[in-house]
Amino acid sequence: MNKNSILYLSILIFGLAAPFIFPAFKVQLSILCVLIVLATTWNIQGGEMGYNTFGNILFYGLGMYLCASVQVGMFFPLAEWTESGGEKTFVHTPTQFFQGMAVGLVVAAVVPTIVAGLIGYAILGLRGHYFAICTLGLGVAAGEISGGIEIIGAGQGFTTPPFPNVGGLEARGEFFYFLSFGALILTFIAVRAIYSTRFKLILNAIRDNEDKAEAMGIETMKYKIIGWMVSAFFCGLAGGIMGGLVGYIDSTDVAFDGREMGVFMVLMAILGGKGTLWGPVIGATVFHIFKEGFWTFFLGWQYVALGVLIVVIVIYFPEGIMGWLREKYPERFGEVVDEADRKAQVELK
């Protein structure tokens, strides 16, 4: 066994055992898994492709609403459910709940992928900051518009089906933990597989110089759209899980929360290091621990802290943790370093 497989195996074992080692942190661990999924998929755009998007929140929110709507709509009238605010008039049996969740998650992953494919051709033709602002507008518009649609709860929100009464209180946390952990494993395997193919090289070519990539005969638009669809798939899935986990969907505060989740995913990827496989994972973990600390100890000041954190990270750590490690230990990243050259560079500085 080589070093990598030992690492992956130990992480897998730790992940499977985590809810039993830290039973009090099950919800936090589930949220961490979702955050890692979001950061990793943002990295496909922002890190590998060079298209810095604020719009992945669109797929996340879409997945959230779709999963909950399907889960309710399969068995009960959706309009009455949202009108009653999720009161006890309708109760899912355990079978109904799990069936609904399964179908809901599939829909939540597939529909955003299709949406990404449809709008991708129009949106991905923009470049640089126009793309960033356009996707920012897209996310906010989705939040504002879904906040006006009556059937999914409009301004008063949408209560997702409560977890059925099986296996006691612990079961809910474990169910959602393993669901999100499964999504994380799936995402990681998929992204890792993608990163070992020609596809990743094409994405990098688009990032480095799109005109040249096009001149080399690469159909850049096709690959950009596929990249965005991959992101959308996992963002939708993560959104569906998060909706069930939070138990309540609000258009601007939970689902299309550009001010929180939409920035978080960018921030986590940058903090960990754009354009690396492990960067977003590390970034999300560090960020989540920091955030929970802030949220607990500076209650009320969390957004102030968040704003300062964004500015500090962006100005002082644009390369992220992985970039910093890379500069410090280039040998570990498989880079050959000429000692004399390095010394000369240090002296130059």
Binding site: I123, G125, L126, C134, G147, G148, V308
Partner: protein, 297 residues
């Protein structure tokens, strides 16, 4: 859906007039954004939050018994120093870097300001009452608050002053030179660092004027900043950098569009329609340019 617009022509007149008066205000904010975008190549997401902060200055004067119209003079002076402070603390570190870095950094400033204003002034929707009364036109079919006319007038006044200042003064010349070619300007003895700081300060001061006028005319709320940023961004991309009549016209156009969206779709979709319009404009321009094998960059 409400089709009153088509049944009562006077509502159309009302919406157009409201929209034009509102649009002049948007154009003032957009002019500030175009200025800093052209000079420093920075897109400031915190633009709207500077506007709201300027509005709160006027609101506080109103609370302490001073007529809020004086905010038009006090607010830009304070905001100029706020702008220079932001420049010295954050912006000068991102000026030469990747544009996305500046977008994200100003996004951070925006969140910071939003929350600080929420702490300092509370989350209520507030309005500085100017007591200017209203004007009735066409047998009272069209109602125009005098404060709106006042704000449009002041905006135009400030815009004209600024244009003359940019043309005639030494600093204005330096700013224009830096916008054309920062390196050449530096060689010829322009202190670009100072020019950048002044540009950001002037932009913030313009936001201060607009904010003070908005607090008199409409309402302000700590979280209302982002729509103003998006509106000014939209106006700038439609008009282009350095095209002042274009900025004024597209500002008014946006104002009229918003008033009609408000009447036809309902108030809850007003902000949503602004953001959607931005997406549509960008996509339209993308397809138009792609025919010539060009792209927005």
């Amino acid at each position: 859906m409400d089709f009153m617009v088509f049944q009562y022509p006077m509502i159309t007149v009302q919406a157009c007039l409201d929209g034009i008066l509102l649009g002049i205000l948007f154009a003032l904010i957009a002019y500030g954004m175009a200025l800093q975008w052209g000079v420093m190549n920075i897109i400031n997401i915190a633009q709207g939050d500077l506007v709201i902060l300027g509005g709160y200055i006027a609101y506080f004067m109103y609370l302490y018994g001073i007529h809020p119209a004086w905010g038009v003079i006090v607010s830009p002076i304070i905001m100029y120093f706020v702008g220079v402070g932001i420049y010295k603390l954050v912006i000068n570190k991102v000026v030469d870097r990747d544009l996305f870095i500046s977008i994200l950094a100003t996004f951070g400033i925006s969140i910071l300001f939003m929350q600080l204003m929420n702490f300092a002034f509370g989350a209520d929707v507030v309005l500085a009452n100017s007591g200017y009364g209203t004007t009735f036109l066409f047998d009272s079919a069209v109602v125009l608050p005098n404060s709106k006319i006042f704000s449009a007038f002041i905006s135009i006044l400030f815009a004209i002053c600024l244009v003359i200042y940019m043309k005639k003064s030494k600093l204005g010349r330096a700013i224009r030179a830096t916008a054309q070619n920062a390196r050449a300007a530096k060689i010829l003895g322009v202190d670009t660092e100072k020019v950048y700081a002044a540009t950001f300060g002037i932009n913030a001061a313009l936001c201060g004027v607009a904010g003070a006028l908005i607090s008199i005319t409409f309402t302000i709320h700590p979280y209302m900043g982002l729509p103003y940023t998006i509106r000014s961004f939209m106006i700038v991309i439609v008009a282009g950098l350095g095209n002042l009549p274009g900025v004024a016209l597209s500002g008014m156009g946006l104002g009229v569009f918003e008033e009609f969206a408000d009447y036809i779709l309902g108030t809850e979709f007003r902000i949503g329609s602004v953001f959607l319009l931005l997406v549509l404009i960008l996509v339209y321009r993308r397809f138009k340019l792609s025919r010539k094998r060009e792209y927005l960059k």
